[in-house]
Symmetry: C3
Subunit: 327 residues, 3 copies
Amino acid sequence: MLTPLFDLGTYKREPRFTNGFYQKDILSVSQFSKADLDYIFERAQEMLAMCETWGTCDLLKGYTLACVFYEPSTRTSSSFIAAMERLGGKVIPITEGIQYSSVSKGESLIDSMITLEQYCDVIVLRHPEIGSSATAAKYVKAPIINAGDGAGEHPTQALLDLFTIQRELGTLDGLKVAMVGDLRYGRTVHSLTRLLSQYDVSLRFVSPDTLRLPLDLMNELIDKGLNVRETNKVSDVIENADVLYVTRIQKERFSDLAQYEEVKNYFVISPDLMAQAKEKMVVMHPLPRVGEIEYKVDKDPRAAYFRQVQNGLYVRMALLAAVLGQA
Amino acid sequence: MLTPLFDLGTYKREPRFTNGFYQKDILSVSQFSKADLDYIFERAQEMLAMCETWGTCDLLKGYTLACVFYEPSTRTSSSFIAAMERLGGKVIPITEGIQYSSVSKGESLIDSMITLEQYCDVIVLRHPEIGSSATAAKYVKAPIINAGDGAGEHPTQALLDLFTIQRELGTLDGLKVAMVGDLRYGRTVHSLTRLLSQYDVSLRFVSPDTLRLPLDLMNELIDKGLNVRETNKVSDVIENADVLYVTRIQKERFSDLAQYEEVKNYFVISPDLMAQAKEKMVVMHPLPRVGEIEYKVDKDPRAAYFRQVQNGLYVRMALLAAVLGQA
Amino acid sequence: MLTPLFDLGTYKREPRFTNGFYQKDILSVSQFSKADLDYIFERAQEMLAMCETWGTCDLLKGYTLACVFYEPSTRTSSSFIAAMERLGGKVIPITEGIQYSSVSKGESLIDSMITLEQYCDVIVLRHPEIGSSATAAKYVKAPIINAGDGAGEHPTQALLDLFTIQRELGTLDGLKVAMVGDLRYGRTVHSLTRLLSQYDVSLRFVSPDTLRLPLDLMNELIDKGLNVRETNKVSDVIENADVLYVTRIQKERFSDLAQYEEVKNYFVISPDLMAQAKEKMVVMHPLPRVGEIEYKVDKDPRAAYFRQVQNGLYVRMALLAAVLGQA
């Protein structure tokens, strides 16, 4: 008879909140009602307060996250790792080489996910193929958080964007939000737009002609009765915007480079442009930027893109705690 | 005189169990007696119970693992990382880039291992060269756990395989175990076979002619008086097998592809084949699979390959705790 | 009204020591006075005692480190990760792939650093460009610890070198220190030399003619009135040296390989050479070595290069705790 290692009688890990998000997958922004958003944002505020007071806590003690990135994304993986660690949970970081290991031996994504599920309580998945997280979620019992599935969704980015607007401006209703840049391929724009369409907002879409918002999304907004309008120049919207959500315009999208050179300056945010904006507005960007916002703008108190990054930490902490039944 | 940072008088980290595995290297299955296996499996059962009740614990608080993978193996490295973290130990994960850093500057494996030893209490090592863990163990004081040395051994895989059979069927004696696939090069088959040869088992080896079990291993089994038999088709063994241990057959092993196409179907586990098997048997696989077991088999309760993965976690937890004197 | 997750009233994370290093960047050895060095080394001694007694502690509980390596360096990144983990802090390890992710999308180092700052309390940065850490420190509020900026500095290496000499010989004054190898390009030699020049030491520089110490550094030493001398052979200095600090001579530095072959043996430390040295002296090396010190020398108690590695852990623990106001 061996000396027992543990006296297990004293404590059992249990979910504390089993309604709402407990054991749910986070796959798409479309699954979030306004009440859901309110809930997550309220929890995110608590996370913020905790981080400022304690730095870390033990809320997710006993839980393990597998953070699986089939394509590198330092910002997103770091954010999830920091979120789990600050909550006192454990992290298995699989942010590299995965394509060179099991996958290159021909293993299917499903098998990989079911394998990792044996070691952990929740999985964060970034994968280049659209629908990959949804597919994984069908086979895996542990909650899956979609951290980007190619041209598909990146729901936690949209949630942190919305949370940022709310924190910066105190409300989501009655705002004029201008989306700038590549509105055709930019999935962050599409997801945020869908979330915003639940609120009483006016939307302005600023893009080159070839990178306009997809037809079906535009029609969706019009059907909902939202006040929408499209234009080619930031200068058309800067004076009235409460939010300027800027994204990258990729040179590669233009078959005619001359055309790119011609239009690109209409989309660069400069101090001169900011001088025309309201005193109380916010400039956001999902980052990385490559020239769309001049560095000189960083000192402007309305430049919210780094606070936006920090909000991602709090929103992801709230989501992790929620799907594990601890928030 | 500085304000001291610590009051060290209150506690000292000490080994609790100094017999058996304390400070031992885990290099080969051949070092495990039946009593050793019993011990590790009993500890693994405790780990399982702890994980289900608490999730994580503090048994290895104060200890640090360097998890060093010179070739990527997400499954194995994740398993060791999760094992150490669930025990409350710290992990230095070195699962990438190692070949591009010090090693590419010409540093020897030994120097790298002695260096890492300065930071940690135990080292898990995966390295493509046969004998690398044994060599490292000669020079390094901290216990080394071999996580695969090329064509050599991968002892923790064999231990988790054996533990799985015991958990699934309640015993190791009196069983009929069929090994299927590439029996010539498959190191997991060789290691598990050696462990099983300590028990009262019948062994059936199912492979293409060119991938039969190596002569010396076969003779070893015969010398021990084990009931062994070889065949070319799974259908020959399916009715009587208690355990079907399936491995990959690599196309590349065949110089004549027509031959590969001819034989490959004899080794694929399908629901039809499963219908011929005993009600109480288990299908195992070291994973990744690439077609040897049809996905439809996954729902069969006898499909044990994902539970096998989870058992790896518990066995590795037991080993880590044992070599550090905490189990 | 939600059930609150935290009762924050009970505790607040606060700096304990706000003089000296609190919130300071560690960019260069030139920022360290003798009093600073004394302070860090005294704290490093406490870290050593803590590691030997407890293994890990909670001194940096509540704090998070982003460990960012734009070029792989397993030794240095492992050392910092182990240091932070042993102090009970959290680590976001970004030791790979970074060049393939945001940076490859054109993100600037500054943006990456400000982004990471949102998740953590301190950043360790390794980057191939000289001055990169200083640049980052200008824009980032969190303390930056320079873990190597190309041909620039690697201050924690120099600190651990100096700490090693003090631990091994009990003093820094009155010593004869010989630097051996590539003295022209070796940044560890330059940094250590600068630190040593604050003490009463004699310096001997042993290198091939083409790899002599840079003129400006030599003049700096002479201006300070230090006893310095240069030579081409280790045998010239071995008898009187208290410290033999050996570095790699890279073949690639020689345009004429015949010249390399001719001189290389003058710089190899062998047991024969050690037989001529004092009984109480130390051989050091920043590692990795590629033949400059024969493996046979490892058993010599004067071979301090692996103890030197371990001292790096303690010095880095001291620095991390100091910049976070906890030492």
